[in-house]
Symmetry: C2
Subunit: 221 residues, 2 copies
């Protein structure tokens, strides 16, 4: 265990939305470590509704950049550029093949536990979170889970001195179309949730701004 | 900087969805450290669309439990129980008072930078992410940001040996109503995004299951 709050907080202060990288390459074992913290991230019901596309191909990066005003400098200069996909309704629905296979093969749940879990999951989707009203709510819900992995990967990168930039500044529909055209995903199955660039900063950032703890935390004693 | 990948990964393996806590109390400075990692988490455009309600009151915890099938054991036994709220459309809209005040007072942006940022933000909401079609898409988008803070808080807790459990197993509408009835929030302003319990495990978890890295990562070289 790390058990050093000051050192951990240093990483939180080191991390910023790095707008331009210096072109140095992240060592393979460091990048795999970052992905590993994404892989080990929790998700609702443990269903890991994510895929990570690591785009190292320069031509493809250029094409992605065309639809990504928020990644103008980060996309070409980053050492590793990751598109995080979320799973669509087809897979996330309580009685889908993905969910059934996942409970059996990944979670290795016995039949009766699978049935019970599917029942909870159905009620959750139908009533508790009201996710079945269209295609979007359930996809957004899958994407929420990917933000846990996103946050963890940026923090773990910072903890070993690697910079990052999360990127939502892209046209969702155009990017989905591009990735389908390129044969990287099918829009029936996946959609782009968010993107994140990793590398080493070109220059130091301006100071961090945040609301005070008092403004965002309320204790009910 | 921590710079010790093995120690960091230990924390990822230590963390699990802890279903029951042993009743020991988290020291104040440790819990404040956890909140601080939430506070320092990134969010889209830096707008921090979150509030953290720390529910220590036993009666209120019982009332919350009534609508939270996923928190049956965690809610009463946790040392600290946190409800994470997301901001509603009223606040997140590009020309809202919240956004304008936030850019001026928290981010301390000069007039012309605020105007430029508002323009990007408007285009992002209207076109890129198509967030303005109703109340839900923009609220879900605010909630996605809270999952970054959620993930960071659970990981930072694990890094100092503290257990946690994220909880989505609740009825969103009923819980929103309860918190409004109790005077904790107005449903015009906020909605419950997700909850998270912190404490120390009562017993050891069963092993972690995850898809293999190969099944979730694709390199495009």
């Amino acid at each position: 265990m790390i058990n050093n709050k000051d050192e951990i907080l240093k990483a939180y202060n080191f991390r910023h939305a790095c707008k331009e990288f210096n072109g140095n390459e992240i060592p393979k074992e460091d990048f795999e470590f970052i992905l590993e913290t994404g892989r080990l991230s929790p998700s609702s019901f443990g269903f890991e509704p994510w895929q990570f596309i690591v785009v190292q191909n320069k031509e493809l990066r250029e094409k992605i950049k065309e639809y990504s005003w928020g990644g103008e400098k980060q996309i070409p200069t980053s050492s590793h550029f990751v598109i995080i996909l979320g799973r669509k309704k087809k897979h996330m629905l309580y009685d889908s093949k993905y969910i059934n296979d996942f409970m059996r093969e990944v979670q290795e749940l016995p039949d009766e536990v699978r049935d019970m879990k599917r029942g909870f999951y159905k009620a959750f989707q139908e009533k508790d979170f009201n996710l079945l009203e269209g295609e979007r709510a359930i996809f957004d819900w899958a994407c929420k889970q990917t933000y846990i992995a996103l946050g963890n990967m940026m923090t773990s990168a910072a903890e070993i001195g690697i910079d990052s930039c999360p990127i939502e500044g892209f046209n969702m529909e155009k990017l989905d179309e591009l990735l389908e055209r390129e044969g990287i995903m099918s829009r029936d199955d996946f959609g782009v949730s968010v993107m994140v660039a990793f590398g080493y900063r070109k220059k130091d950032p301006r100071g961090k701004t945040r609301q005070n703890l008092n403004d965002i935390v309320t204790y009910i004693e």
